[in-house]
């Protein structure tokens, strides 16, 4: 049974009005259970929209989305997934610890269990001493890590993550990547992951989905053959570079106005 199935799905905002925006058009995507799939594409191409459709936070204008063999709506109601949004979206009136506990509260966990898990999560994101602080007392990257901790806290079978590591420095990012992979492997979690970093997408994923600029379509799906277990050495492996190049090419192809740019370079350039 596939974890996520998106069939012939389009999403059009403000349909019929002058401000109509065709966010994504005719998208077909299947994510197998336990798979790690990244979405990559230019800004505004509909990645977040696609994630929201899977999460049933938006209704598709057209097409069908199913999750774990159920409708997306049912999956949402069954709390089959955890989501980390592009904006951290923490609650100002809750302490950091209580923010992480929120999904657990909603699942009806008891207090001590919640507190224990929240503490674990704070350790995971390396912010154990901030439990009692309020979100607005944290730096941008710290807030983002809290949001990740919140998404992971309930160990959901499906993780939907929208640029979760965007505000992290390189070292923290690498550390979080490793932890994410470890957790997913241990609990065989399926992940749909939005990122702008090609190496990140390649390092983490089984497949990378490359999307075209607005209106968003899937232009290519690149299989990454780096084996199930990724280590620090993976980043030096030959297949790693090959996949990076493949993704980059697919991406460049989507940017009509960037044809002049150097085609392939040996080094990541951001």
């Amino acid at each position: 049974m596939s974890a996520v199935q998106v069939v012939g799905t389009s999403k059009i905002f403000n349909e019929g009005s002058a401000k109509q925006v065709d966010a994504i058009v005719e998208v077909n995507l299947t994510v197998e259970s336990g798979e790690f799939v990244s979405l990559i594409g230019p800004s505004g191409c509909g990645k977040s929209t696609l994630l929201r459709l899977i999460a049933n936070l938006l209704e598709p204008t057209q097409g069908v989305v199913s999750v774990n063999g159920k409708t997306a709506a049912q999956a949402r109601l069954d709390q089959d997934y955890g989501m980390a949004f592009q904006q951290a979206g923490l609650f100002d009136w809750r302490t950091v610890g209580k923010n992480i506990e929120l999904p657990l509260e909603l699942k009806g966990w008891d207090k001590t269990k919640r507190a224990k898990r929240a503490e674990e999560m704070l350790h995971l994101v390396k912010l154990p001493e901030f439990a009692e602080m309020y979100p607005w007392q944290l730096s941008g990257g710290m807030q983002q890590r809290i949001a990740i901790a919140r998404a992971l806290a309930a160990h959901p079978p499906l993780l939907l993550m929208d640029e979760p590591f965007g505000a992290l420095d390189e070292m923290t990012r690498e550390y979080m990547q490793g932890e994410l992979l470890r957790i997913c492997a241990e609990t065989s979690t399926t992940v749909v992951f939005v990122t702008h970093s090609i190496p990140e997408a390649v390092y983490l994923s089984n497949r990378v989905v490359v999307m075209s600029p607005r209106p968003g379509r899937i232009v290519e799906i690149i299989d990454v053959n780096l084996g199930a277990k990724r280590t620090e050495d993976t980043r030096a492996a030959e297949g790693f570079f090959r996949s990076i190049t493949a993704v980059r090419e697919a991406l460049r192809g989507t940017h009509a106005d960037h044809v002049a740019a150097t085609a392939i370079r040996g080094v990541e350039d951001r």
């Binding site: 049933n56 938006l58 209704e59």
Partner: protein, 292 residues
Amino acid sequence: MTLVGRIAYRTSMFVLAIAAIIGAWELYKLIGPQGGGKFFGVSILPRANNNAMPHVWDMFSRFGRPEVRGSDRKIWVVVLSGAWFSLRLSFVGFLLGSTVGVGLAVLMTRFRIVQRGLLPYLVMSQTVPLIALAPLVVSWGGKLEIGSFVWPRWLSASILGMFLAFFPIAVGTLRGLASAPSAAMELMESYAASWKQTLFKLRFPAAVPFMVPAFKLAASGAVVGVVVAEISTGLKGGIGRLIIEYAREATGDPAKVFTAVFGAAALGLTMSGIVAVSDLLLMRNRPKETTT
């Protein structure tokens, strides 16, 4: 939904609500105790008799009959023109109250010391009964003549409407002006925006959600103030005057006073309607809640 559709929907909901109330009223008249119900010596249940609770059809048919015997003016005409009169006064009071309320809120936001010093007295001012103020306002008004401007008598009533209207606006706006997100405040600070610029470009827009309920309260406050003023200052022509005149006849014609009461309710509804429309206009471009 289109605007027309929405208005139609709202209207039908309102009609439905009225029907429900009428049903409940008449049902209670059927089953409720004529002399009221007492528990432990305290009356809990209202009396269901025709003097305390006239039949709905009596009240409505009263609208169609002349105001006084021999007059050819039907009550609905009188009530309607009274409501129209009071509506204009209320609107003036509402506008004045908005100006004063917003002005005070701005002043209190600007100078913390004013807020500290003034706010308790604004609160106290609201507990000064209009009845104690009405004679003062009326007589001061009577003395005022600025150039060619002669204080009209009705303006005193509007002033009292203002008196009730400004307070919720002052409090709500004050809270709203303080609700601007700190990130946005920082942005304005980074522009070295003047206080006034921050006020108009940031604080006010951010205050809108707090100001809307305040204006709703102020709208009905203005109506209440004007109606009270009409009653206590003897100003003729408005719904307040009708209410008290009809109330004196409640002994023999209990349905009559209800016609004026309904008129007052319609008046308040119109005022809130005006505010509600401006709410829709002001908030139309804000992010809507997701409704999935």
